[in-house]
């Protein structure tokens, strides 16, 4: 082995490459190389792999609406993986995100169709909230059961998945079936409860109430950004006592400008002109959710508690934290995000803006892989979700243009995950040394003993 290392002329080059790229990137690269080998072996055609990968990239990024569709597919991934990561960091394996996704979708579909009389500024937040709460309750119950009866959350959330699937089927086919449609689906939600597509924003903003809603959101975001900046030492010194004024003032100003100018501006010029583009504002929500989860887990006392409970529940108890409350909270946040993912799919993607049967296929399970790949880092999740969304979306064109089955994508994803989980394999391949002070990672989840 050591002889081999000496004689291999590529060793220095490979290890330099390894150092330059991060471990996940390397894992991915390696997975694609092995995928290419598999394609070559199965097709016997030297060109098959380049053709397939070119099709994949073109489908995911360059073809008409390719990038948009990749983003559309990434959005549920982001929210579900964020939900899983909150669970993992709190020591819980919420394997039931798929079920919570369904319940969220169902609640949103219900809340979206109760009336057509409400304006969007009320109805859309209401529908979003309904979905998130539905998911939160669906996940909170197993959390509570875990603490009360010791029922392990992996088992109970998985069982809750089946209950969710059957319950959704029942409600769609019976209680909430759209009688005007021959298809089996819930009634379409009120146009006011629909999640806007980017293309529709200029037209939506023509309604002053909608503009007001957007202005409020922008005002709030501006205030939050200014507030975060105001804590930097140099700003702090300059602002002094006027900190509150600066925050409130900038928020108000941003809101006012948005309310007056945005409808006019977007009407005059707007980059999203393709009316058939499905990219929707759920994208913004997904990014905000990632920032929010990061803030909650890393910057706040509830997040500190959740992480402590996850890393060492005995120490958490010693420190006076309420384990039951934290476990239920972690599950509820996790489920709430999963429910929001389902909600967004109903309000923003489903063509009928309703909940049809067979709503999702495996988003929840893919998301487990995504959060592992991203090591539960919210911004890593944004990147990994885009990767998975892009691969899911590009796979069709890959198959069309090269004839390579799109299931090769699953193989590549599984390999990437394997390499991330077992970095020693990649290190061996690229002749990398283990980092000197290999940091001990917090376990993703504790054993099955509960």
């Amino acid at each position: 082995m050591s002889e081999n290392r000496k004689t291999n002329p590529f060793a220095p080059f490979l290890s330099a490459l390894g150092r330059a790229l991060g471990m996940p990137a390397l894992a991915l690269l390696t997975a694609f190389i092995i995928g290419a080998i598999v394609i070559l072996l199965t097709s016997g055609d030297l060109l098959a792999a380049p053709t397939a990968y070119w099709g994949l990239i073109r489908g995911a990024l360059f073809k008409q609406r390719g990038l948009s569709e990749s983003l559309v597919a990434s959005i549920p991934y982001v929210l579900l993986s964020l939900g899983l990561s909150v669970g993992f960091k709190s020591g819980l394996f919420n394997i039931g995100v798929e079920g919570q996704f369904y319940i969220g979708a169902l609640c949103a579909a219900w809340a979206g169709q109760i009336t057509t009389g409400l304006p969007a500024i009320i109805h859309l937040p209401l529908a979003l909230l309904a979905g998130a709460i539905g998911g939160a309750i669906w996940a909170g119950v197993p959390g509570y059961l875990k603490m009360r009866t010791g029922a392990h959350e992996v088992i109970s959330t998985m069982m809750m998945n089946y209950v969710a699937f059957r319950l959704t089927e029942y409600v769609i086919t019976d209680k909430l079936r759209d009688v005007n449609s021959t298809t089996i689906q819930t009634p379409s939600v009120s146009p006011a409860a629909e999640l806007w597509t980017f293309a529709a924003i200029p037209q939506r903003l023509q309604d002053p109430l909608n503009a007001l809603g957007v202005a409020l959101v922008l005002a709030l975001l501006t205030a939050l950004v200014v507030r975060a900046l105001a804590d930097r030492p140099d700003w702090k010194a300059k602002l002094g006592a006027r900190r509150g004024l600066a925050i409130g003032g900038s928020g108000l100003l941003a809101g006012l400008i948005a309310f007056v100018a945005l409808p006019l501006l977007t009407n005059a010029w707007w980059p999203f002109t393709d009316a058939y583009d499905r990219l929707h504002t759920g994208l913004i929500m997904a990014v905000l959710a990632a920032v929010g989860v990061w803030w909650l887990m890393e910057k706040t006392t509830p997040g500190f508690e959740l992480r402590t409970v996850g890393a060492n529940p005995n120490a958490a108890r010693y420190a006076g934290m309420n384990i039951t409350r934290n476990v239920v909270l972690a599950m509820a946040i996790s489920g709430g995000l999963a429910g929001l993912a389902g909600t967004i799919e109903v309000l923003g993607v489903s063509i009928c803006r309703c909940l049809p049967l067979f709503f999702s296929s495996g988003y929840g399970f893919d998301s487990i892989a995504i959060s592992l790949l991203a090591r539960n880092d919210p911004f890593g999740i944004l990147a990994a979700s885009f990767l998975f969304g892009a691969m899911r979306n590009g796979a069709d064109l890959m198959e069309l243009s090269s004839g390579v089955s799109k299931y090769i994508i699953s193989l590549i994803q599984a390999l990437a995950l394997l390499f991330v989980a077992a970095p020693a394999i990649v290190r061996w391949m690229y002749r990398m040394k283990a980092p000197a002070g290999e940091e001990k990672q917090a376990p993703l989840t504790r054993g099955w003993g509960g």
Partner: protein
């Protein structure tokens, strides 16, 4: 050596990229989008693809399919073909009605065929609202052909056979989702059984899925418990589960959509027949009109009169079916053809 290979690959990639951008072939490109059942569903997705393949081979066209994983994929998958400049897009299944209509309006130059879904002006419909008199002519769907089947007719024939063969006097059906094509099958089946023996008891359960054989089997077992001895499996893989229940109980079954004796070998020895929709024929015939230029928007109905639907051969059961039952089936077929017998299906 290695460098040379690498260079070669790079050149080939470049060439490929150019050709992909170039296009310009006179061959027609046909795309097929399956519903969530997938292309190997041993049923109508598979049959539709067989029709596309046959036509493509015969006329020298390119054909590809995309399998849909979930309903939100329908739009995207049709768009996939459209943006790749496909000329004809076949969408399989009633569930794709809205997506197909939306995309047909978006791409008026592409020809669409949808199986099992006809458009009628409907209140609040996104596909074709009631301001239009006719969805195809003035409802914006001038490029859509609906390939419809009179499932009630073939269901009626299957019912006649089932009623004639049943010893218990109870026949049943394990149905998929309660959508019009399935309902037509079931209603025809029940009325057919009552036509041959008015006292026949009929059972039916709509399982809200086409891909759940476990639940289909469970449903079948429960109906066997209620005395049923002929099971009509009418709902993709869910219905297949019902047939499996019949097989395990040693009773009789009737397949659906295609001749399941050929596609579902596990149960072939208990299959009386299959209530076949010749989807492949319908798709092939449609593509032939595309080739000849005679393609028309509107509803193409396949029925017993034009051979688009019909019972599959009896195969192994041929000797076990009494002659008088066969005679009754033929009599019913004749009656349906000349209109003297009605299936009793009301849309």
């Amino acid at each position: 050596m290695k460098k040379v290979n690498l260079l070669l690959v790079l050149v080939m990639i470049a060439a490929l990229a150019l050709s992909a951008c170039g296009g310009g072939s006179s061959k027609l490109k046909i795309g097929l989008v399956t519903d969530v059942g997938g292309v190997n569903d041993k049923s109508f997705n598979q049959s539709a693809w067989a029709g596309v393949e046959k036509a493509a081979k015969e006329f020298g066209w390119d054909a590809q399919y995309i399998e849909s994983k979930q309903p939100t994929d329908y739009e995207k998958n049709i768009d996939q073909f459209a943006t790749e400049n496909y000329d004809v897009i076949v969408t399989v299944g009633f569930m794709m009605g809205d997506a197909t209509a939306a995309k047909a309006k978006q791409y008026p130059k592409i020809k669409f065929a949808i199986i099992d879904n006809a458009y009628f002006p409907t209140k609040d419909s996104k596909a074709c609202d009631d301001t239009a008199k006719d969805c195809y002519a003035d409802g914006g769907l001038k490029n859509v052909t609906s390939l419809m089947f009179q499932e009630d007719q073939v269901g009626f024939l299957a019912g006649v056979l089932a009623g004639g063969m049943s010893k218990t006097g109870t026949i049943c059906s394990v149905a998929g989702m309660e959508i019009p094509p399935v309902v037509r099958f079931v209603v025809g089946y029940q009325n057919g059984a009552k036509w041959i023996k008015p006292e026949t008891n009929t059972l039916n359960v709509y399982v809200p899925s086409f891909i759940d054989p476990a639940k289909g089997k469970e449903t079948g077992v429960s109906m066997i418990g209620q005395g049923c001895d002929v099971i009509f499996g009418v709902g993709g893989n869910t219905g297949n589960g019902g047939l499996l229940a019949a097989k395990e109980a040693g009773l009789m079954g009737i397949g659906v959509d295609v001749d399941q004796y050929l596609t579902y070998a596990e149960v072939k020895d208990i299959l009386l027949t299959s209530a076949a929709k010749n989807v492949d024929v319908a798709v092939y015939e449609y593509l032939k009109t595309v080739k000849s230029g005679a393609v028309k928007a509107g509803i193409n109905t396949a029925n017993v009169q034009n051979g688009g639907v019909g019972l599959a051969p009896y195969h192994d059961m041929d000797s076990k079916i009494p002659a008088e039952v066969k005679t009754k089936v033929d009599e019913a077929l004749k009656g349906l053809k000349d209109g003297s017998i009605k299936t009793g299906y009301q849309p």
